[in-house]
């Protein structure tokens, strides 16, 4: 599994063998327009719609806010997943330790990003993990996918951050997500570091993958499905 530096990240790189894999693969059949139509109505608002079209953010500061909110949404997702696993209590031994420690980290990331963003922080969406936290096998494969995904997502966003402070923070979280990925991959029987170079994912790809899992449920379907209002005044 030695890889070049220029290849894009593929599903195989996750080596996921469970609930997430099926949904990720199903996603690949969607056309781009199909994806946009689908995400406009499902999950996208919950993930922070602006993050999908960073070019719409005009000022530098607002694009940083968009990126931090994008990061926050991924941290919400992960924190909720580990917290649920801890609450359900189906994990034992090394796996339980991983879930407890990593869950603590993800909750700390949520708290940090929320405080950095203040009133601009997006609200936490509702999640439905469809039972993947209820067994060691599905927990493991989902955690591998989440952590590799988060690592690739931070890597995709970091070069676009304009503030040095935010960039430093994002880099410091990026490498922790990579540690988490290595940790859970090892427990799942995969090489912790499968390739010499980790590839980034852009916001479109990340949201697409997350939405394909249907883990993000709508807080309020009627309002979330609506497009942005026009301001006429």
């Amino acid at each position: 599994m030695t890889g070049g530096g220029v290849r894009s990240l593929r599903l195989d790189d996750f080596d996921v063998d469970g609930a997430v894999r099926d949904t990720f693969e199903a996603m690949q059949h969607h056309t781009r327009s199909g994806f946009l139509r689908q995400t406009a109505g499902a999950g996208l608002a919950a993930l922070g719609a602006a993050a999908v079209w960073p070019s719409e953010a005009s000022a530098a500061a607002s694009s940083d806010v968009t990126i931090l909110n994008f990061a926050l949404s991924l941290e919400y997702l992960q924190a909720s997943f580990y917290t649920e696993a801890e609450r359900i209590g189906a994990l034992h031994g090394a796996l339980k330790q991983q879930a407890d420690v990593v869950g603590m980290h993800e909750r700390a990331h949520v708290k940090a990003f929320k405080q950095l963003l203040g009133s601009k922080a997006i609200k936490e969406p509702k999640f439905d993990f469809h039972g993947v936290t209820e067994s060691a096998n599905t927990f493991r494969s989902t955690a591998v996918a989440f952590e590799d995904l988060a690592t690739a997502a931070y890597k995709g966003q970091a070069p676009m951050i304009t503030s040095r402070s935010y960039l430093a923070g994002a880099l410091a979280v990026h490498s922790v997500e990579a540690r988490h990925a290595a940790w859970i991959r090892r427990l799942a029987g995969f090489l912790p570091a499968a390739k010499a170079f980790d590839e980034p994912l852009n916001a479109h790809e990340v949201v697409n993958l997350v939405n394909s899992t249907h883990f993000v449920t709508l807080r309020d379907p009627e309002t979330s499905a609506r497009t942005s209002p026009h301001f006429t005044g």
Binding site: H109, Q115, A158, P159, T162, A178, A182, L191, A196, D198
Partner: protein, 209 residues
């Protein structure tokens, strides 16, 4: 004993001395403090200037990165020859050593003629004693990861994008080494950057010429 690139007392080497403390790391530490601070309940975030770097700074940072990758590659290659590693420790050294070689090649190609020749390294019992090998691997990986993290804010966006592909792999190596040593692979929620001078302290002892 050789002087690491960046020691401004030696002519003919790219000076990294001005990267080692103060100004260039300030942004990094402020940001980290803000995130880490927020995590423990404080909200302070100093207003800070925006990024980002220059071609000259990129080159200096990548040159230091190349030294780290060459040193790590040599370390794993020697350990594979001399430490009688077995099982997962052997697999770790083989896989990670291969990555470090690829990183070195990548940086050599990015730097071109400026890459220069690799110094000579001497690792002593760190490559003959399996326990010492693992402890040294953790220390080298943590220092390498930490210095990449610390200097990331000083890179131009394009170079940062390239370097970030290496950084998370170093983080995976670090976690793997720690797991093998029965330590927590990810001990803290936010990784602490390592200054160039701290990193030099870790690497210097293994450089002989």
């Amino acid at each position: 004993m050789v002087v690491l690139p960046g020691d401004s007392t030696k002519a003919g080497r790219p000076p990294l001395g001005h990267l080692s403390r103060g100004t260039l790391l300030k942004g990094s530490i402020a940001g980290l403090g803000a995130l880490a601070g927020a995590a423990v309940g404080t909200t302070e975030l100093a207003a800070s200037p925006n990024a980002h770097g220059s071609a000259a700074t990129d080159k200096e940072i990548l040159t230091f990165g190349l030294l780290i990758e060459r040193l790590q590659a040599a370390f794993y290659a020697e350990a594979l020859r001399s430490a009688h590693l077995t099982g997962e420790a052997h697999q770790f050294a083989k896989v990670v050593g291969g990555h470090e070689q690829e990183h070195a090649k990548f940086l050599e190609s990015a730097l071109g003629p400026a890459a220069g020749k690799s110094p000579q390294f001497k690792f002593g019992d760190a490559v003959t004693d399996p326990a010492k090998f693992l402890a040294t691997a953790i220390s080298l990986e943590e220092a390498g990861l930490g210095v990449y993290n610390g200097q990331g804010v000083n890179l131009t966006p394009a170079t940062l994008a390239a370097a970030a592909k290496i950084v998370s792999v170093e983080a995976r190596h670090t976690a793997w080494a720690r797991a093998l040593a029965k330590e927590l692979p990810a001990p803290v929620a936010v990784d602490v950057p390592v200054s160039v001078s701290q990193a030099k302290h870790t690497f210097q002892q293994f450089i002989v010429s």
